[in-house]
């Protein structure tokens, strides 16, 4: 495991760049634990200061230090992305592995449901969810709602791998040696699909953060939890761009773009690592 990681870091430029970018982002997020100001407090520093020492990224019109605000925001945003990814991974693993292994009618039913979840336009439903929840709409509820939708595409992917695993000899051996379906899926098939799960996790985090930012920017989430989207929302509320407080918008946008590119590079390099054809092409270079 460590050897693979070390080799990836050494030979795969995309992977190294992705790790470096995400490292920076996580460091900024971790810095929030040392923040001199509580996250929710406003007017703790002079408002509208341009980036300079000691407020290196400037201050907002609400009297908050952009850097510390950003640290809280990226921490919450990353946590949000990870929770959605982990929850939805669980669903997609169960559905994908069971459908691939069971095949036949079970497979067909599960895949019809999966296809429906892929197609259903999520945004109006999430907006409706916000509409009925209003003040009670919290970070955790949104994560649950998005995990309930974010599993479908990857379940299809996992199922296609599980389908081919089913016909492999070791599956037959496991059946004959009396392993239960659950045992076969967890002990025999799961290790084979884990690399794919890892790469889809990155894409899923990207997807969920993207939707969270979008919903927040429109004001459709809890406005009290600082996230990247919420920062942009408040900046827009104070017409930061027109007022010339560009740093209030530019830095959150830059940081979220860095996060996206980092996660995306990790996913791409993992895909390349998984696909033997591109690994051969790399060795030939």
């Amino acid at each position: 495991m460590f050897k693979i990681l070390r080799d990836l870091l050494r030979y795969n430029r995309e992977f190294a760049a992705g790790v470096a970018l995400l490292g920076v982002v996580i460091l900024i997020g971790a810095a929030s634990f040392f923040s001199p100001y509580p996250a929710a407090d406003s007017f703790v520093v002079p408002p509208d200061l341009a980036p300079s020492w000691p407020h290196i990224l400037g201050t907002t019109s609400r009297g908050q230090d952009v850097f510390w605000q950003l640290a809280f925001a990226i921490r919450n945003t990353l946590l949000f992305g990870f929770s959605v990814a982990i929850l939805s991974r669980l669903i997609s693993l169960v559905v994908g592995l069971v459908a691939g292994y069971a095949s036949g009618i079970v497979d067909r039913v599960l895949m019809s449901i999966t296809d429906s979840f892929i197609v259903i336009p999520l945004f109006p439903i999430l907006v409706m969810f916000y509409f009925v929840m209003r003040e009670r709409m919290s970070w955790a509820w949104l994560a649950l709602a998005m995990a309930a939708f974010g599993w479908a595409y990857d379940a299809r992917l996992i199922r296609s791998v599980a389908l081919s695993l089913r016909t492999r000899e070791f599956t037959q051996t496991s059946i004959f040696s009396g392993m239960s379906m659950r045992q076969i899926l967890v002990e025999e098939h799961l290790p084979y699909v884990l690399p794919i799960v890892f790469s889809t996790t990155m894409n899923n985090i990207n997807w969920s953060i993207g939707l969270e930012v979008t919903l927040s920017v429109l004001g459709f989430t809890n406005v009290d939890t600082p996230t990247i989207g919420m920062m942009i929302y408040w900046a827009n509320q104070h017409t930061a761009l027109v007022a010339g407080v560009w740093w209030w918008i530019a830095f959150p946008v830059a940081l979220v773009v860095i996060t996206f590119i980092g996660l995306f590079l990790l996913a791409v390099s993992m895909n390349e690592y998984i696909d033997p054809r591109s690994r051969l092409a790399r060795m030939g270079e």
């Binding site: 019809s112 449901i113 296809d115 429906s116 979840f117 892929i118 197609v119 259903i120 336009p121 999520l122 945004f123 109006p124 439903i125 907006v127 409706m128 969810f129 916000y130 509409f131 009925v132 929840m133 209003r134 009670r136 595409y153 990207n206 953060i209 993207g210 939707l211 930012v213 979008t214 920017v217 429109l218 459709f220 761009l241 946008v253 979220v256 773009v257 996206f260 590119i261 996660l263 995306f264 791409v268 054809r277």
Partner: protein, 334 residues
């Protein structure tokens, strides 16, 4: 022929299932909340001044009917489906007494037009560039195009749209950044109106295409670079078939099949993106209507939009599925 009708039957069943699941989610979301939507609407309406209890009682009654909170759960469920089947979501609360269906019908052409143009454009462009990049691997120009497309791909719609808005709205204001057409023009097929619509759609379409391009590009490139090493392609090359012909009818033709499936699968996501684009550029389509409905607390309009968008997206997927046999004749033969 039997295989084809079986295929049609399966697709139609899938369509019904998508609509059924989607509507049930919509129903569950609206009916399983800890908050009473009726009391909430009433408290929002009465917070601006004192209203007599008599009027409030009347309001409560009509809202309960509208939200479908009368009778047993089964009756509520049946009433919900009756409304959906009839396409009747009652009058809009924010634009009273205009029916919800009329508001939606007015907004749909804008969204449908925007989506059709930008989806087809990014799909065609992404596949063309991706196919070329997969086939001519040495071209440095195509490599640069690949880096740009892939770099834009992971950035969310909102940020790209917002960047375009800043560049063309404040830095270099040459394009209209808001609205669907000039205010003072009468809708119709006159040259001035059409031209205005086209000019207004440049930025929204550009933002959707920029973000959508990368996915198709990467998919097509990896598909093509796998197909290039297939025996029949190598055979064609050895036999001296024109390279352009190999690319178009040997390689791209085969790679297109999974890409069409991909298009059908991603329609829901494309629709999500279009809603945000509309909001950013003030485009008078479904997305703007949706956001407006939330801000105005218009429940019936919100439910109507959700229902219509579920049906519309799954109908579009069905359409792609029905055209699929044209591209992949194996479906017809079975």
């Amino acid at each position: 022929m039997r295989a084809y009708s079986l295929y049609l039957f399966r697709r139609l069943t899938q369509f019904v299932l998508v609509v059924f699941i989607g509507m049930n989610i919509a129903y569950a979301v609206t009916h399983s909340t800890p908050i009473d939507p009726v009391e909430q609407t009433i408290s929002a309406a009465t917070s601006f001044g004192s209203t007599s209890p008599d009027v409030i009682a009347k309001m409560r009654q009509s809202l309960r009917e509208l939200y479908g909170l009368q009778g047993s759960p089964w009756q509520q469920y049946a009433a919900f489906w009756k409304r959906v089947a009839a396409g009747d979501f009652g009058p809009s609360l924010s634009a009273f007494p205009t029916p919800v269906s009329e508001l939606i019908a007015r907004a749909i052409p804008w969204t449908a037009g925007l989506l059709t143009v930008s989806t087809l454009l990014s799909w065609a462009l992404g596949n063309l560039l991706g196919g070329l990049a997969g086939y001519y691997r040495q071209s440095s120009l195509l490599r640069v195009a690949g880096v740009v497309a892939m770099g834009l791909h992971p950035i969310p719609y909102y940020i790209v749209a917002f960047a375009l808005l800043i560049v063309f709205g404040f830095v270099w204001p040459v394009l209209p950044i808001t609205g669907g057409a000039e205010m003072n023009l009468a809708p119709g097929f006159g040259i001035a109106f059409v031209e205005s619509v086209v000019v207004h759609s440049i930025l929204p379409v550009a933002s959707l295409v920029l973000v959508g391009l990368g996915g198709w590009f990467m998919g097509m490139r990896s598909l093509v670079s796998n197909i290039v090493s297939e025996d029949y392609v190598i055979y064609a090359e050895l036999a001296g078939v024109d390279r352009r012909r190999i690319l178009i009818s040997y390689v791209m033709r085969n790679a297109l099949v999974p890409q069409v499936t991909g298009l059908a699968m991603s329609l829901g996501a494309i629709f999500n993106g279009a809603i945000i684009t509309e909001q950013v550029f003030g485009y008078p389509g479904i997305g703007s209507l949706l956001v407006g409905a939330v801000h105005a607390g218009d429940y019936s309009l919100l439910l109507g939009i959700t229902a219509v968008s579920i049906v519309a997206v799954s109908a579009a997927v069905l359409l792609i599925d029905l055209l699929y046999p044209l591209l992949d004749p194996r479906v017809k033969i079975g």
